[in-house]
Subunit: 300 residues, 2 copies
């Protein structure tokens, strides 16, 4: 499985490196990526491995972050409730989301006890339905939660004390499916067209299930502006890349334009890309275990 | 890497199972597939792992086959020169073909000595250019090679004695890139159309590099006949699946028909399928290491 913790520190590179080092020291864990954003004052570390080493690495990361980050000193553009703001566990390969839900809950209980840190379960791991949405858990942010955590029973943590950790605040621990960040660039600079298409495909306005989308205008120096439909696919087994691209192509053509090219941001599950190949080829009887390296990884 | 030895036994299931067991007992080796053909009286075992365990497993398979198969008793439709007829080593993932060439040569020398078995190097591992083609190595088959191996210097083995192994004959050991067996079914029952397209795309008649193709008519009980372009892609990094399908589609449309659907036979390198996805989506700046499980397998 994969773990993608977000930390409320994006300006001091050495702090992020310390956290990455704490993760990388655990045997059986591979650090896949880490990135740091100065405006958001926030970092994201992506690592993967089997359940046990992933939990050990996540625990090490929480420990280090609580030592190095002080929420009393923190400001940034991104909503947050703690030094380690959010810790999602994500199934990879043949791991099921249920295993990540179990793990998130056990891990949440452990770190609450060990670090006296209030833990909120969110996403698929949520114990209260209103906490499935991370935005509900983060309402009022670190500053707002300071009072609410003890005074409002609806804001009591799932595990740990009903008061913020002195420097570390609180943390949201959860499980979610892998997310695909995928952009579709149109052969037009007409932003309203991209916005209209984004509105038509996104779930929140009645479009395709498990699709988030927005229209943006890309303005890069040295190239002409380009309208983009920027998407997050939050459950590619419900709505895959090919379905989204086919629908955006249809809507773009209706609007008198077309897709110019697409961009995959970061990593995506191999299965989601193989589905695109199978769709493009009209493959019959195709299974992801016909992909040699995947089959091999699965058998090991 | 992968190893795909072919054995001259397709009728006695227990013999093939013994060989598969010998392979599977080696730590670090995964048996991906095995199949047995009664008409050809021949079996194929596919296994994979790192270089060292793969060599150990291939050696174990040769030893077991020499004990259990007697070429003096063998008949079958498929050309062959020995109990273990051919042993190709195939690069997977980030392994380079050169590593497989090295390994095939070292392995060939070892089994020649250990089993007093004449070894011919073929494919990319060939030491004589005329032995790159397996058909040249197998000319005259087991029966014809019995005299030629000692009397004709051009047929002397690369390693081992210039006489056949008493029951095991000789073996061809080589290295080749992964082969993709890929069929394209047309919306017509007109065999000449499939033959014409196959002729146009295959390398041997001046078509696309590293493409083998033939036209066949599929006649399955219960469904109407369908013309098929059956292809082998022997170097997908030179000519990939998408290029072949796009060209077949163009030629099919010229002939007043179209592609109905495609079939991938057995396993294919994941990279070859990701290329199809990238082509279909018009992905910019896409690399196979954006596929999560592949990236993870590579980092381990």
């Amino acid at each position: 499985m994969e773990c993608v913790p977000n930390f409320s520190e994006g300006r001091r590179a050495e702090v992020v490196e310390e956290i990455v080092r704490a993760v990388g020291q655990i045997d059986g864990v591979t650090v896949l990526d880490h990135s740091r954003d100065e405006t958001h004052n926030r970092s994201v570390v992506t690592f993967a491995g089997n359940a046990e080493p992933v939990v050990r690495a996540a625990t090490a990361a929480v420990g280090r972050a609580l030592e190095l980050i002080d929420m009393e000193q923190h400001s940034g553009a991104h909503p947050r409730i703690g030094a380690v703001d959010v810790i999602p566990f994500v199934p990879l390969g043949t791991t099921r989301i249920e295993e990540c839900v179990d793990l998130a809950r056990r891990f949440g209980e452990q770190i609450a006890q060990r670090f006296e840190l209030p833990v909120y379960l969110y996403g698929e791991a949520a114990l209260r339905p209103e906490r499935r949405r991370l935005a509900n858990v983060r309402r009022g942010q670190y500053e707002g939660l300071r009072d609410a955590i003890s005074s409002d029973p609806a804001r009591a943590p799932d595990y740990g004390p009903a008061r913020l950790h002195p420097k570390g605040g609180a943390v949201a621990v959860g499980a979610r499916k892998p997310l695909i960040a995928f952009n579709i660039n149109l052969r037009t600079d007409d932003l309203p067209t991209a916005i209209k298409i984004a509105n038509a495909i996104r779930e929140s306005s009645g479009g395709m299930p498990a699709v988030q989308a927005m229209g943006v205008l890309l303005e890069n120096p040295g190239s002409s502006p380009m309208a983009q439909v920027s998407t997050n696919l939050v459950d590619w087994e419900r709505t895959g890349i090919a379905a989204v691209v086919n629908e955006v192509r249809r809507l773009a053509r209706e609007a008198g334009t077309d897709i110019d090219h697409c961009e995959l941001i970061g990593l995506a599950p191999t299965g989601a890309l193989l589905d695109v190949a199978a769709d493009a080829l009209g493959l019959r009887d195709f299974g992801a275990d016909q992909a040699l390296e995947l089959r091999l990884a699965r058998e090991r």
